[in-house]
Symmetry: C2
Subunit: 251 residues, 2 copies
């Protein structure tokens, strides 16, 4: 049995909470947050607390708050016996060095309020200082996910960068595509099957081999036509840079 | 019953062929292609032909070849009674104006050899000159897909541009993400659940609302850190342009 407390009430906190609840070997001691309204979503199933000075002992304290609040929240669990971890891809483990035993428990996924995520497939990236703490985090992660990885701060930094690229930037491309649809009175949903298949395809084919399109073919006629279509668009620079970057890969 | 012949043996031809085969109301008259090896994949189930001067009559001739070969292939069906369509997003309907009755039958999807696509969900974008031909294409499209759209050449041009953006460019972002993983000795598959969820998310949330990350927050500290990580990378320009484009959207 691992006793866990969660500090934070946002999307990451909520998804981890639900995953822990399903597992008999995890006991959720407390969910702690300033927002009493948000705490209500947890209060039926566990003890909730808005007073950070009254935190009970646990084996692992998971700080699941915005990056810039991690250090501040960690002040409240400086003197606990349990291990303190944060869940951020972009923050180094040292941010928690004020806590005696500390580490990282980073689920590599985008979580939103109303979208159920199958936590068993979500990669959990762990970091700790010694093997006992690593084992503890490993045990907890393995209870909720089939994809557990030891990733040090330098590699996690790289991984966070890739997450920005494949999640944030990709979403922006979806936005641009949908905007062009709307401008042309096409239903934005028309792109959905293509978007799904593009994501699914690279499970069978490497992105290098899956690449198609005018930039891959060096088809400058089509590229010029597209740039002409985009001449008044604020997204022209995106088209230019992406096409140039693809073209360089396939000389 | 609609009698269809397919000119071409590539991925689009093969996927349309399979979808037509499943439907009792479509008769595939011939599959025509120069590549006799490629024709073999079709020859068990229909008549195949490598001699373009011997094409039999049909209701609809579907030219499913590379963009730059469409006009040339259309020469062989100049004098048929049936309707001649191409399957390209980037080529105007007028490319077939040498054929008496002509139009466009554009499936908005990325097709690859070994990946089965559920054609029923693939949007089929149609264009024709008169209502009788439009009705004919509509009838054929509705037999294989639940998502049939009338899209004129100007709109299809816009749609093709969006396909390049959400398919080709997105795939390139996947490539960049996987490259960074490989450089850091992380398994490239670690990104897959995030990629899948990013694509799935916008079925519930608009891409505008789904946007997260440092550029959306205006978090210049993280952006600078990422640019520092990419300082020797050929993909730095992609990061800069994408971040700037997102940031402009969320002032």
């Amino acid at each position: 049995m691992i006793r866990v407390s969660i500090l934070g009430t946002g999307n990451v906190a909520a998804h981890l909470f639900r995953a822990f609840l399903k597992n008999e070997d995890v006991e959720i001691v407390q969910v702690v947050g300033r927002n009493t309204e948000a705490l209500r979503a947890f209060s039926k199933q566990t003890d909730t607390l808005s007073d950070f000075t009254n935190i009970a002992e646990a084996d692992i304290f998971i700080i699941a708050v915005k990056d810039d609040a991690i250090v501040k929240v960690s002040e409240y669990v400086k003197h606990v016996k349990g291990m303190v971890v944060h869940t951020s891809g972009g923050v180094s483990m040292d941010a928690l060095s004020g806590c005696r035993r500390h580490g990282v428990f980073y689920p590599l996924q985008t979580f939103s309020k109303n979208s159920a995520v199958d936590m068993r497939s979500v990669p959990i990236c762990l970091e700790a200082h010694d093997s006992a703490d690593t084992d503890l985090l490993n045990a907890l992660a393995a209870m909720i996910s089939e994809s557990v990885h030891q990733v040090d701060s330098a590699c996690r930094k790289a991984l966070h960068l890739t997450a920005v690229i494949v999640n944030n930037f990709t979403n922006h491309l979806y936005y641009i595509g949908q905007q062009i649809c709307v401008e042309n009175e096409l239903p934005a949903e028309i792109l959905q099957p293509l978007i799904r298949e593009t994501a699914a395809k690279i499970e069978q084919l490497s992105p290098y081999d899956a690449q198609t399109g005018p930039a891959r073919r060096g088809d400058h006629e089509t590229i010029s036509m597209h740039l002409e279509q985009l001449k008044a668009s604020k997204f022209k620079a995106v088209y230019e840079v992406m096409s140039a970057s693809i073209e360089k890969l396939y000389p």
